[in-house]
């Protein structure tokens, strides 16, 4: 079974402070991991994927297979980063089920 854990329901940081949203996963195969974001009154949308090793809106995430983690980081938080963030895992099998974590609400305080 595949599982995604986000231990923090709410994370409050001051503007300009570093941000780290935690994500741990369990999956027996080779997973694909993603971060999704949902801004207020907007659709849930993809933020970044581990396979691309990209930086989007200043956010990065590194897959650590040893610790089974995929934490999302940003060195300096901005007010517009306030949103709900979900970590997601897609299995590598044919059915490609996508499982989401419980989400972390990021609140950036001006």
């Amino acid at each position: 079974a595949q599982r995604v854990t986000q231990p923090e329901k709410l994370l409050s940081v001051f503007k300009g402070a570093p941000v780290e949203l935690k994500c741990n996963y369990s999956y027996s195969g080779s997973p694909e991991l993603f971060w999704y974001v949902q801004y207020s009154r907007q659709r849930l949308q993809l933020l970044l994927r581990h396979i691309s090793r990209e930086s989007i809106k200043g956010f990065t995430a590194d897959l650590n297979k040893g610790e089974t983690s995929f934490h999302l980081k940003k060195p300096f938080a901005q007010e517009e980063d306030s949103a709900m963030y979900y970590c997601a895992l897609s299995n590598s099998g044919g059915y490609q089920k996508v499982t989401f974590g419980t989400g972390t609400k990021l609140q950036v305080i001006p």
Binding site: K9, E32, I51, Y86, Q96, T102
Partner: protein, 114 residues
Amino acid sequence: EADIYQTPRYLVIGTGKKITLECSQTMGHDKMYWYQQDPGMELHLIHYSYGVNSTEKGDLSSESTVSRIRTEHFPLTLESARPSHTSQYLCASGTQGLWTGELFFGEGSRLTVL
């Protein structure tokens, strides 16, 4: 414009009614999903499909059913709605291939059962 559409956006109904939440996508995607998003904002996979005539149950047990007769259409049906079904339902679609976990979401259907 390629997109994913959900109707209705909001629905308030009485207990025992049958309802169908519609989801259509014009992106030509093979995979489609239904998620239930509860008030605490957790997302639970309730159904998914990887092509026409294929449907699978997700992680969260649900009394709803789905069908996939056409690639672009993935409706979700509740035969007899109950207050416990009150929630937001999100439909998503994705493509086979490299970015298997990249999903595109609709705006959601917010269901209230009285």
